[in-house]
Every structure is written in C-alpha cells, then in structure tokens.
Symmetry: C2
C-alpha cells in the first residue's frame, strides 16, 4: 500500500477542473489510441516473465546454475529504472543473482566493475533502444574483449539484448543468434522500466516482477477509472505554479531510495524541460535528496532560501528491521538519550515528520508518499504514479513529454569532433 | 594543476570592481582577524598529520598492524568532505586502510555496514562539533553494543573523537581517556574538511594529506596575494545573476567525483540559502550531476528548459588508466566504430567537450575546472577554491555564510514530538 497526502499549502491553490479534465482526456486518448504504450505495459509485459522462466531452462549456461552475476550494459532509460528497483528490493536481502551496472564511459569505473566479475558466473544484458548509444556499444566491446567472448560459438548464450524490434542492435542479435527481447516502439526510454528493459533483468535477478507489474496495474487501472483524482490535483498544482515554484524536490528517507530519486530526475527533467508550442522554454527542475542525511545539507536552503521549491517526502513506514538504539548512556553525551530503546525505524520517520512540519511552518508546499513497506507491488505503484504525473504535467504544459530533441546537438558535435 | 576557464556567456556580464574589492576585503578581514578559521587550516592542520603518525606507534591496536578498516561515524560536514576526498583518491587504488561511513539513521544501511566489519580489524572515529548530533550518538551506541566495546578498558583505543574543544563529546572523551582531536571554534562544519575532521581519518587511511594541505595552501596563498582574480569575477557573476540564474549545476565527468558534488551541494546550499540583512530570502540552488551518464538524464532540461541555470564542468585530463575501446566491429552496430582504438579517457572528455559546446551554443553560462590528474594536491586546491568562492558570494549577498539557523526548527519539533 502507498499512502498519499498533501499539506495545507499544497492544497491552497484553486483547482481548475477544465485543465484537469483536458489533461486526463489527453492521456486517456494516448492510452486508448496506442500512441503511447507505457500505460499498457503492466499487462503486456507479463509475457516477459514467462519468457525468462523458459530461458532459465533452455539457455544451457543459465540452466546449469552457474550464473550468479548479471552485467547490465545500458545508460539513462536503459539503467536508471532497473537500478531504482534493484536498490530497493536488494536492500531487503531478496534476489538470487546480483546485478552490476555498466553505464558510464569512465575508464576507472569500467575497469573496477569488470575486475569484479568472472566469465563463468556472468551473463551480460545489453540494453539500448537503438543500438547506437556510444557508451553502451563501447562497453559491450570491452566486455567481449575482457572475457574473450566468442559470439559465433557458445558464448552467444552469455549475452542477451533488449532493444526496439528492427533496430541495429536487434539486427545484430539476429545475425549472431543472440536472445533478444523487444521494447514496444511506442514506449520511450525513460518510460520503459516496466517493459522488457526492467522485467527481464529483474526477473533473472530473482525478484517478484509479477507483483511489480500487478502493483502498477492496480494503480493505472484505478487512475483511468477516475479514482486517483489526487494525481490530477497535484499535476495541476505543479502546472499552475511551474514558474514561481520551478524546482521540485524529492526528499526520500532511506538510502535504498537514492536510485529512485535519480530515476525520477531523468523522468521529470527530460520529459518536461521543453520548448512548448508557443516557443517558450518551460519545465520544472527536479532535485533528489536523501533524509535524514540531507537535513544536514539541503534543509537550510529549503527553509530560508528563495521560495521557489515544492517538496515531496517519500518514507517507509516499516523497514522490517528492528535495529534499536541501545539503552546506553555515555557520560556527557546524555542529551540524545531520549531516543534510547527506540528503533532506528522510529527515529528516521520521526526525523521525516519533524522536517516536514518545519517546512510546512515555513510556508513550503509539501506532500507525502508513504510506503507501508518495501515490496515489488509498492514499487510498481510508485513508478506508474510518477509516470502518470509526468504525462499529466506535460499535457498541461503543452509540451511533447516523450521526446528529447535537446540532447541531439551534443551528439552531433561529438561525431563531428571525431571525424573532423 | 587545476585549469580554470570561463566561456563567452559567462564573461559577458560587466564586472563591478567595487563589489569585488569589497568582498575581497570582507574575507581578508575574516582571515586576518581570525574571525573565520578555515583560511588558516592549510598550515594549522599540519600538526594533525604528525599527531596521527605518532598515534600509529603509541596506540597499541594501531601499532599492532591489525587495523584494516575505519568506521567514520558522522553526518553532514562531519562526513561529506572526507567522503569526497576518499572517493577520488581511492579510485586510483591508493590507501592502506578502508573508510566506512556511518551517516544516516537508516536501519538497513547501519545493519549492513556493521555486518561488514570485524571488531579486531576496525577502529571508530566519532565526529561531531557538538556531540549532540542524534544520528551520530545513536549509531555510536549501536556500534558499542554490536562489538561489545568496553570503553573503560582496552577498547578505548578502538575509538577516537573529533570535536570542538570543550564540547560534550570532548568531555566524554576526557572522561573515558579516549584520544581526541579538536576542530577550531572558528571553523564551521561544512568548512571543516581540512581541519582534523578530514586530516585525521584521511591520514589514517594512508593518503597523502601533506600534499592535500599544500595544494590548498598554494591556492589560498595565491588568492590572498590577489593572484586568483578569476574567483572574484566568478563570484560577482553569480551574485549579479543570482535571481535570473538561480541554479548552479556542477557537471562532473567521473564517477569518483560524485561525492565531491555532494560536498559542494552542502557547502553552497547551506552557506548561501539565507535570509539576508534586508529580510529577503536569497540563495542559489546547487545541483550536482555526473557525466557522461546525466547527459542521458538532465541535459535535455538544461538545453531546452528555463534559462535559470549556470553550469560548471569538472573534468579529469588524465585518468591514468589506459582502458581502450577494442578494435572490434560487430555486424549492424558499426555506427559507433569511429571510437574504436581510442581510450575511454578520450571518449569521456570528448563527451564533456561536446556537451559543453552544445550548452554554449544554447546560450547557457558555462565554465570549466580541469584537473590535470587526480591527486591530493589538486583535490586540496579545488576544495579551498570552492570554499573561497562560497565566502565571496556570501559577502556579496550580505548573508551570514557560516551559520544555519534554518535547520533548528526541525530539531525542536523532533525533540518536542518525543518528549510530548
């Protein structure tokens, strides 16, 4: 279960029902017409779970039981969502195979991660919608050389590909007879975590991806039935205040939530930071921070700095961990003894509440998402919640939520600099 | 060596020499009068290196050679700077003892980190200016219980304390006869990394803290001689544009720089996010992102979103790692073969340059800091550079750069909620 709430400041804006109705209609049409495909992944991706289950028997290397590690080679939308879910679920000790993320073109990072893996216990999943992502292809070739992978022979079973049907990477997989999974054409990279992109590696890792999809499905079904009006109201608030409160801070109270905040930063920033149909630069800037640590880093600016920010708190009611502050009193540092015998679970959530209260008293617009506990079902729900919220705000801002034309110029310059 | 440069957009603002002169005088006076102490740490902290060298012989547990791990218990200014330096230097494989950071009140995080350590090979350093930091004292007590530390007997040698002279934590150390190092009263937490806070653990970790201090010292000496005018110009640009370009993005091109960006976020946000002397909320919002990964996440917003951001690129000329993209051509994904045989070092820096160029063409104010390589001397210089820049902008904004009154309310509410 997820519990959503908004404080008084957040609700204060008048709600424009026409704006909300129009946005709801825009994204309902995207869904029904099949123009945008992520809404349907919660059902359509179930087939990938079955396919992976089958693969665990048909792929001779996987079925031998030797595989303990999975190298994910992908960047941006091809890694952030998988990492977000992996961090949360693995924090509870779940999973049977460990995921390793090869993303950046940083030579030290690649070298260190390759050195940790052994050929006999590793398979690689190469993820790219197009196959033309320079970090991904370069790291893939490095892995081929490092592990002396012979793709013409049995090592083809050590590699899988997740890509668009008909892409260069798809043709590559066909050529070498490598297993591939496809991303629907109508699903963009940053909305793809519930497609094969996330479902295949997370199922291989031993996580309950059925619960992930079902949790998301319940939420999206309820939304399209008109039962999650709070998202529309929140989207409308963001839209109406996008100039004055142009920064949205996600304040997540658990270390394992850090990668979810990074996934959110891409989703929000890349979807909404756009030139709108009137040629205006619009968008709201996402920032992810972690509690309680960033109370000691970012809170001062939130409280006393410019009032240009809204803050969403994410917290976990039950960490399912009973670590307690021992009943020890140390001479001269008795001041914090009031927390003795309480659990850290209690402490971190009390810090979250106190910080939230201090922001509300300072006039900041605050809302909350509370996980009753960390599980795949809740993670699926929060993912589709943020995707829907993004689509709604995009519809209200009248931008193309699903493209990213701004990143092309840098690629052109990169190619030119190498070819010049 | 660090190389600093600013692009055309950044230089375009007229420089107000009176503002720069006044700010220079303000911080020179802070330095000379001893009101603010961080300017002098580059010389004054040398004694801590000698003290640690001595301790390695006098502390029987350290001198036995059994210690391979150091648990740092501290949060905010008592961990961010140490982590920033540790990530960079350890990425090169340097160091003799591994640092483990206990910061957050997250029960899962604490449990996992404690489980990784063994009593016989670990010492703990508890860092808090006051001794009243709830996360720090609670985790410290948990470590005492977990490892059954008897502070009345020989286990007192497994613990050290870094705190203000006369603080509650200092009195605690005196009471139990525990080794303590002190932070000067005139050095605030987020400016304390070159005090005992950073020097003691980093020296124990086997890093070249002499070079760290010397690198910082050369820079601060040169600055006060008036030879680093570019910092004044940059500070003035930030000050003049703090309303229109209210977000400062630090775009760092190496995974090992991520913790430096987190240190910067605290320094910048907590120092400058203030109510000024005219009762206005002022401040510039810091954001840290990592290249090349965040080209696939945040770049779209930078290019097409609101023009409310400046961007500083940090890159590393020589990673001292010769990992190359292999000369392998894979059927159908030949498009990125132009990078074959080039090093990843070349690739990531070419991506940095291309991204920078694309931002400049889009009219964004951009500047650059280039490390010739990662070493302690360069890290020391970049730390003091950012501290000086922060003090200068604070002087121009006419705020108290060194306090953090905004974080008190949340603490009051927390205490009240437990005692009510």
């Amino acid at each position: 279960m997820l519990h959503f709430s908004r404080d008084f400041n957040f609700k204060a804006t008048s709600h424009h029902s026409a704006i909300m109705e129009t946005a709801f209609k825009v994204i309902s049409d995207e869904h029904k017409s099949g123009k945008i495909g992520y809404y349907s992944l919660t059902k359509n991706s179930l087939i990938h779970i079955d396919a992976v289950d089958k693969l665990l028997h048909t792929n001779t290397i996987l079925s031998s039981g030797a595989i303990t590690d999975i190298g994910i080679i992908g960047i941006g939308g091809s890694s952030l969502g998988i990492k977000a879910i992996d961090s949360l679920v693995s924090s509870k000790g779940a999973g049977t195979r460990k995921l390793h993320f090869f993303e950046n073109s940083d030579p030290i990072d690649i070298s260190k991660k390759l050195a940790k893996l052994q050929k006999k216990s590793t398979i690689f999943i190469v993820i790219s919608k197009s196959g033309g992502t320079i970090e991904t292809t370069s790291i893939f070739k490095t892995a081929i050389e490092h592990f002396d992978l012979d793709l013409e022979k049995e090592d083809k079973e050590r590699v899988m590909v997740i890509t668009d049907k008909g892409s260069a990477l798809s043709e590559f997989a066909d050529h070498y007879g490598i297993t591939q999974f496809n991303i629907p054409d109508n699903v963009g990279g940053r909305f793809s975590v519930l497609s094969a992109v996330g479902i295949v590696p997370l199922t291989l890792a031993g996580y309950d991806t059925k619960a992930l999809l079902d949790g998301a499905d319940s939420f999206v079904t309820s939304f399209f039935k008109g039962e999650e009006k709070h998202i529309l109201e929140k989207a409308c608030f963001y839209y109406e205040n996008s100039k004055e409160q142009s920064i949205n801070v996600l304040f997540s109270y658990a270390n394992s939530l850090e990668n979810l905040t990074k996934w959110y930063v891409q989703l929000w920033g890349e979807s909404l930071g756009k030139i709108d149909k009137f040629q205006n630069s619009v968008g709201v800037t996402p920032i992810g921070i972690i509690g309680a640590v960033d109370q000691h880093s970012f809170l001062q600016l939130l409280i006393e700095g410019p009032k240009d920010k809204t803050v969403t708190f994410i917290s976990i009611e039950d960490f399912e961990n009973d670590l307690k502050v021992p009943d020890i009193s140390l001479k001269h540092i008795e001041k914090t003894d009031f927390i003795n015998t309480k659990s850290f679970n209690t402490l971190i959530n009390a810090q979250c509440e106190a910080t939230k209260e201090s922001l509300i008293q300072s006039g900041i617009s605050v809302d909350s998402i509370v996980f009753d506990k960390i599980n795949e079902s809740n993670i699926g729900a929060v993912i589709i919640y943020y995707e829907l919220l993004t689509s709604l705000v995009g519809a209200m801002l009248q931008v193309n939520t699903y493209d990213q034309p701004g990143v092309e110029l840098g690629k052109v310059i990169l190619y030119k600099n190498f070819q010049g």
